[in-house]
Amino acid sequence: MKRTIPLALVLIMGITMMIQFFVPHPVSVGYYDLTTKWIRIVGAFALVLGTGSFIMFHSDKTRRRRQGWGYSIVAIAALVVVALIGLCPRIMLWWAVFLPTAAVVLGLLLVLVRSVDKLKRFITIWYVIAGAALLVALAGFAVGVLAGRFGWRLPHELAGGIRPGSILQNVIFTNFLVPLNASMFAILAFYMASAAYRAFRARTREAALLLVAAFIVMLGMVPIGANVPFFWFLVVAVAALAVAGLVTRAKALFIGAGMLAVGLLVWLVFWKFRIPPLMLPDTAEWVLSVPNMAAKRAIIFGVALGGIATSLKVILGIERGWLGGGKQ
């Protein structure tokens, strides 16, 4: 029962949605609208899984005092405070600031009390956090109701939790989320620089080809490469090949340099000894729209067939990984 019904459900949903794609009849369109609305709701609930495992992981780490448990408290506190501020409909700003601080103070008090051996047995740190969070939630809702009845009106834009467009959302978004999220990715540029110097090597023929294509695209896509003829880029490439051949005495590099040099000469003659007008940006555009387009299209075919095969195996119940361990 625990496996057959989910598998049947996945089969029915998969087949009906595929058939629906081919049937324009109003019944099929109606069925489609209904299920899309349901999916939007169930999809939003899926967030429960993520939040649940997050809280479980960090609270477990705190309870077991594993290395770095202090930071887990920070993570859970941040989650609880931001979620509560967001969800309380009419929490007022200074209540929103006052209550979390009160909860933290209460938490610290309980931690001190807990360090006394007698009490350690029945008050664990996890209950402290749960207690503090509960306190904040109850107080927030109560204040919201009271504020409603007694008309404690704060300036309109201060109230309203993370209601779209409210002041709280902007504060949390622009001054906490944006700097953290943006900086987390900005440090990648530094890793890129040190990896470029210490790891990106033309070890194999393929890696060398990759780096040359990367150089053309990188220079072609920025203003500095805008008026550099591709001809000079090739001259530099010939020089680099020659030097590499000299240093490593690898015959292949010399042949490569020679062939490229001959090619350049022919190209020069073709343009009657004037520098061919093909600019770097146009070459980069060619690299992107011919070889790159062909390679990416082949990858799209591969990924599409792979994705379809996997989806089909899920629908037909051949692939059951998503069911998880489970007894039967």
């Binding site: 595929m18 009849h25 070890r203």
Partner: protein, 383 residues
């Protein structure tokens, strides 16, 4: 849809209306007026199209007659010679008339035969998708069934696997450990499952040659599965005693903290070989770079297109996208993996064959005799 258009045009030329004496100012009534139920829709819409008999008309009036009312429902600009009426009810009979309007004169065409809209049960434009789906489904299911029946399906040995063999050998000669990172993905990612299959193989070798193996993990579930696989491989290789449980360990779930921790491990242990097989994101750069600077042989493999360029330049050998799946299918001989891999392989063959044959026919369609081949491109359009 195409046949409809062509028949429309053909009929249009044949029966040009020969209206009576035409005064200079009076426009001729519009030519062939056709009203049809819009095909491949959910009903409630009728397609009206007509052809301009002359260029005098400044506007067109579209008039609809129903059992109980007559109403002009639209005025179109001269160049718009069709209109889709969507305020109709299904199974009610309508007739339409079109008027050419010019300098005060309104000349009505004769009414169209009665027509009523109705929903269709099959969208004929999407036959091409239905055929493609059926062909590919048949291939995948056929190969999975044959694989299940135990018939051995041939999958070529991926060049990457020789590199794996040689890298493990090198580590044993130098007596240095091997670091195997099964990626940062979860058990749901195909790349992680493929990586765990290859881990089993590598663990068998380290058991035989008795060299040290370190497996840091980022996902708790992948950690538990990896430990089982390594334990099983050690027993299969007949060396259950050599298995050290702490060689497979969980590090952290934060992306960059995990990368920093594995970097520390590589700098401390100075491994001879690093394996980065599975799902990677932006932190792949950090891992590959530190690994390269410690001078270890590095073999990577992932299906995330964004990280492949970095692995290709920073590692000695890289399994590109589907090669990772093929390697795991080759090693594990698991019918599910083999079946779907073969199904996709022959799916690709069908695509390539269609492309080549289609292109040849299309190029031939330039010859006058084989003009109808040019319809092939239309067959592949999507609506």
């Amino acid at each position: 849809m195409i046949l409809l258009l062509i028949s429309l045009l053909a009929v249009g030329q044949a029966a040009l209306p020969d209206s009576g004496a035409v005064t200079a100012a009076r426009p001729a009534p519009p030519g062939v007026v056709k009203a049809t139920d819009t095909p491949n829709d959910d009903g409630k819409s009728i397609n009206i199209s007509w052809s301009a008999a002359d260029t005098l008309a400044q506007a067109w009036l579209v008039e609809r007659t129903e059992p109980d009312s007559v109403k002009v429902i639209a005025t179109n600009k001269p160049d718009e010679t069709n209109y889709i009426d969507e305020e109709v009810r299904d199974r009610v009979r309508y007739t339409y008339r079109i008027a050419a309007v010019a300098a005060g004169d309104t000349v009505w065409s004769d009414p169209t035969p009665q027509v009523s809209s109705s929903p269709q049960f099959f969208n004929t434009n999407r036959i091409n998708i239905l055929i493609a789906m059926l062909v590919f489904f048949a291939l995948v299911v056929y190969y999975i069934e044959t694989a299940k029946k135990g018939k051995n399906l041939f999958v070529r040995r991926i060049a990457g696997l020789d590199a794996v063999e040689e890298a493990v050998g090198r580590a044993t000669e130098m007596g240095k450990p091997i670091v195997y990172v099964p990626g940062l993905g979860s058990v749901a990612d195909i790349a992680t499952i493929a990586s765990l299959n290859i881990l089993g193989e590598v663990a068998k070798k380290t058991a035989q040659y008795d060299s040290a193996l370190l497996v840091p993990n980022r996902d708790p579930i992948v950690y538990t599965v990896a430990r089982e696989i390594v334990k099983e491989s050690y027993t299969k290789a007949g060396r259950p005693d050599a298995f050290r449980p702490d060689s497979v360990f969980f590090v952290t779930s934060e992306q960059f903290a995990f990368a920093a921790a594995v970097d520390g491990l590589m700098v401390r242990e100075k491994p001879a070989t690093n394996f980065f097989l599975g799902m990677f994101w932006a932190e792949s750069l950090v891992l590959a770079e530190t690994g390269a600077t410690t001078g270890a042989i590095q073999i990577a493999g992932t299906d995330s297109v964004f990280q492949l360029p970095f692995f290709i330049t920073a590692c000695d050998y890289t399994l590109i996208g589907e090669e990772l799946y093929a390697a795991s299918a080759y090693l594990s001989r698991e019918p599910l993996l083999l079946g779907s891999l073969k199904g996709q392989d022959y799916g690709k063959m069908v695509i390539l064959l269609t492309l080549v044959v289609g292109s040849v026919l299309l190029l031939l369609s330039k010859l006058p005799a084989l003009g109808f081949f040019s319809r092939i491109v239309g067959f592949f359009s999507t609506r």
